[in-house]
Symmetry: C2
Subunit: 211 residues, 2 copies
DNA sequence: TAGATTGTTAATCGATTAACAATC
DNA sequence: TAGATTGTTAATCGATTAACAATC
């Protein structure tokens, strides 16, 4: 699989392609053309063909794409053929929501431990996982190989957690705290800035249909 | 304020500028140059000046930008000088997390009602707001002017909720369900696809440092 | 084979960066 | 005033779209 500098824009469209293909698989649809995919995704047929051809020729002239096979291929490209062990720090509602979400809807992404500083949360069980004292994170990461660290803390704690994750050799950090954190060299950072998203929504609402 | 077709890319950088300026305000820093802002944001100084000049000349030659004033200006551009009434549908952990988040951290964005279909959730109070039966959403929207509808349900219910929001004349929809929903003409849709975000993270982890 | 549709190259469009005159 | 830094125009870069030959 060639992946020498595929643009970010392309990568971020892949999960969406996959999501739509998943529905087609569920509907037992066997083949689809770039034109039909265009109607479903909103991207142009040309763009879809360009995107997919970054990774190889998945289609067949005169036929289109095999839905099941394309779905599988995109999964392979995204790295969804392996398991990811994840640790959540911050077990408030958001941390619990992410834990539930991953547990019930994201096969392949497994929460192995959860941490918090709040004595009221330490000890409770969330989907059979007992919340541990944040103090033990370092030790836990040293003893267990964890691919993804998830930050669901407040803004102020986020960088400290990120540092511990970095030292603990996670490969990626999924950050939900409204902070711009720094991560170690070679560690992937994916931010979900809810605040930015809501502010953007406010902008578009305010600027709807005005001269 | 001119806003004839400002590109999406620019808009999505604004909340980040604002977030960083907010910290500078807190640190009592008075002025900042595009060059210094560049170091803090990671965007080039040139891009920052271009971005800001879409909305007018906020800076002063030889001086730079006044931090407090720029912060305020960006807030105005984003439409953060008014209140937004919001309704949440789906009161599981995620819905509750959003409710807490908005209540405690987002002045100007006010949750006025919450709805669910689950009898176990109907009647409980989340930050003084009682969860109502989803059945009453339609009536509620008819009687109250709501700007933002928030979808924290499962994939399968998302479109139904979106339809009710559309009929109830919300101006924007903040969607957390992993579904591609359709919304009425003129209604702004902002998606937070956690699943896509996690899949993207998996991609970058899988493709770190490989030939 | 004829028709359909991809893979891929070329053209266009838009966004980012560079450069510099204007000006505080 | 001299120095600094913006606002803005021009150049570059990259991403999207169009076109069409290849081919199933």
């Amino acid at each position: 699989m060639r992946d020498n500098r595929i643009s970010n824009a392309v990568i971020r469209r892949l999960p969406r392609y996959r999501r739509i293909l998943e529905e087609l698989v569920a509907k037992d649809i066997e083949r689809i053309s770039s034109n039909e995919l265009s109607a479903l995704t909103g991207y142009t047929a040309s763009q879809i063909r360009q995107d997919l051809n970054n990774f190889g020729g998945f289609g067949q002239q005169g036929y289109g794409y095999n839905v099941q096979s394309l779905f599988t291929q995109i999964g392979l490209i995204l790295g969804l053929d392996r398991d990811y062990r994840m640790v959540i720090v911050g077990c408030g509602n958001l941390g619990q929501a992410i834990a539930n979400y991953a547990t019930y809807y994201k096969r392949g992404f497994r929460i192995t431990a959860m941490f918090d500083v709040n004595p009221k949360l330490i000890g409770i069980k969330i989907n059979d996982i007992e919340v541990q004292d944040y103090e033990f994170l370092e030790k836990y990461l040293a003893e267990n190989e964890i691919e993804i660290g998830i930050i669901c803390t407040t803004k102020n704690s986020a960088q400290d957690v990120a540092n511990k994750f970095t030292e603990g050799n996670v490969k990626g950090i999924w950050n939900f705290a409204p902070a711009d954190i720094e991560v170690g060299e070679g560690i992937v950072l994916e931010n979900v800035h809810l605040s930015d998203s809501l502010n953007t929504l406010a902008y578009f609402i305010s600027h709807q249909e005005r001269p």
